[in-house]
Symmetry: C2
DNA sequence: CCAAAAGTGTTTTAACTACACCCATGC
DNA sequence: GCATGGGTGTAGTTAAAACACTTTTGG
């Protein structure tokens, strides 16, 4: 984590951080055609100005999952977002001078929601394209790489990618999302067929607005079938 | 973890445990036709006689991965085994009276190797069939369930299941392994075709011995192709 | 009418499924 | 000779891949 919040500890007695265990969040977003990650800037400490993942300390009375949720909320004002633990990073030298084990999470946010809710937040945060990530503090580049790998795997087995899109989207938007995440190109026709036959999408009575070409059908996904597919998994073998 | 080794801490100054972070290992083995887990018995503390996962404390100077390897070696004398982190379990109430975050690992061992090397070890340890697991200490049942889920997922995407078999095995042994792990039944003929066409297996000049039916061809797996398939993944869509 | 993206249809190829059947060996 | 597992072959179905083509809309 970034030590940004370590001062909270001294403010009250009721909120107590656990020594040596932090939480770090990889926040993925999808903008236009590219996958991006939200990074925050160090405001204090030995590495002022450097960028890193959003982080914080695990507190005595909360679970790791709750902590991740809280830390995320503090920055983005978003709740109810897709959040999954990656793993713990426990190298003794990952943070200089002290021993900190971090529990890393990754999360998929819808940029539209983010823009609405997070506009008021003050902390220095910025979206970076996935192939233009700067040098990050500690082992955060490693954590990010790992989470990308994880995302690429998970996205093929469960319909989690949808969390990156706005509520209403077109088939081609969805296709571009998969192309970008997996780094492949897909056939429009075959993609349509495959995605539609799994009945995950519900066509809406709406069409795209203000586009300078034929307006595309908008879809949302069926939460029931989404649940089913998340449970039993599916195979996105493109 | 089980607190069995917490006394080590006071023996020397050079070896120091980290307060509040433990390591737990789910050890899978495959015997005849059934998937089993190695559990150890509590010898001291508030829950004498109860079974749990093999555990220990993370030490100041070692990484979590190294700790898992060490703890595993102390019990089984096995090294060089398949070991992967599951995730961290961080519920504040998972251990009564104190706050312990545990980093859970799972590992696949070949029972033949285990029998050879581990026969000398003294600790109370026992293999339990996967569908006859007793009540375990703390949240170890939850950890075990999670690791089973993980195993079932991973086994479809990479050839890791092979780690549970002896070096030389028959195709039907391999098939039974998959049947048992995934809880399905497979078609002999189709399984053969599928597994052989991915060129992962190398036929040996040997056949099964001492069986009261036609002796089966023995195979081992090709480590090069194994590497390739582990990297890029495969699809075991049975 | 042209660019640009939406959307449909078809042919080929490969893979999965479900069987039926023969082979070798010990008792 | 029969039970048991080892091993081969095939016909039918389904899905993936590649590509050509039509439709709609703004400028």
């Amino acid at each position: 984590m970034t030590f940004l919040s370590s001062k909270n500890n001294t403010k009250t007695n009721s909120i107590q951080d656990i020594d040596g265990i932090s939480i770090d969040c990889v926040i993925f977003g999808f903008n236009k055609e590219s996958l991006e990650v939200l990074l925050v800037q160090h405001a204090e400490g030995e590495s002022i100005g450097k960028w890193g993942l959003l982080g914080g300390w695990l507190r005595k009375e909360e679970s790791a999952d709750d902590a991740a949720q809280r830390i995320l909320y503090e920055l983005t004002s978003l709740d109810n977002i897709y959040l999954e633990q990656l793993k713990a990073f426990g190298d003794p030298n990952r943070v200089p001078e002290r021993r900190v084990v971090t529990i890393a999470y990754y999360t998929l946010v819808n940029r539209e929601d983010y823009n609405i809710k997070a506009s008021l937040t003050l902390k220095e945060a910025k979206w970076y394209k996935i192939n233009a990530i700067p040098n990050l503090i500690f082992d955060h580049n490693e954590i990010l790489d790992f989470s990308l790998m994880q995302l690429r795997n998970r996205v093929r087995q469960a319909p989690i990618g949808f969390n990156l899109l706005p509520e209403k989207f077109t088939l081609l938007q969805l296709m571009h999302l998969y192309e970008e995440i997996l780094g492949i190109t897909l056939d429009k026709s075959n993609f349509r067929r495959k995605i539609l036959q799994m009945k995950l999408l519900v066509p809406l009575d709406e069409k795209q607005q203000d586009v300078s070409h034929r307006a595309a059908q908008l879809y949302k996904f069926d939460p029931e079938i989404y649940e089913k597919l998340t449970q039993k998994g599916f195979n996105f073998e493109f």
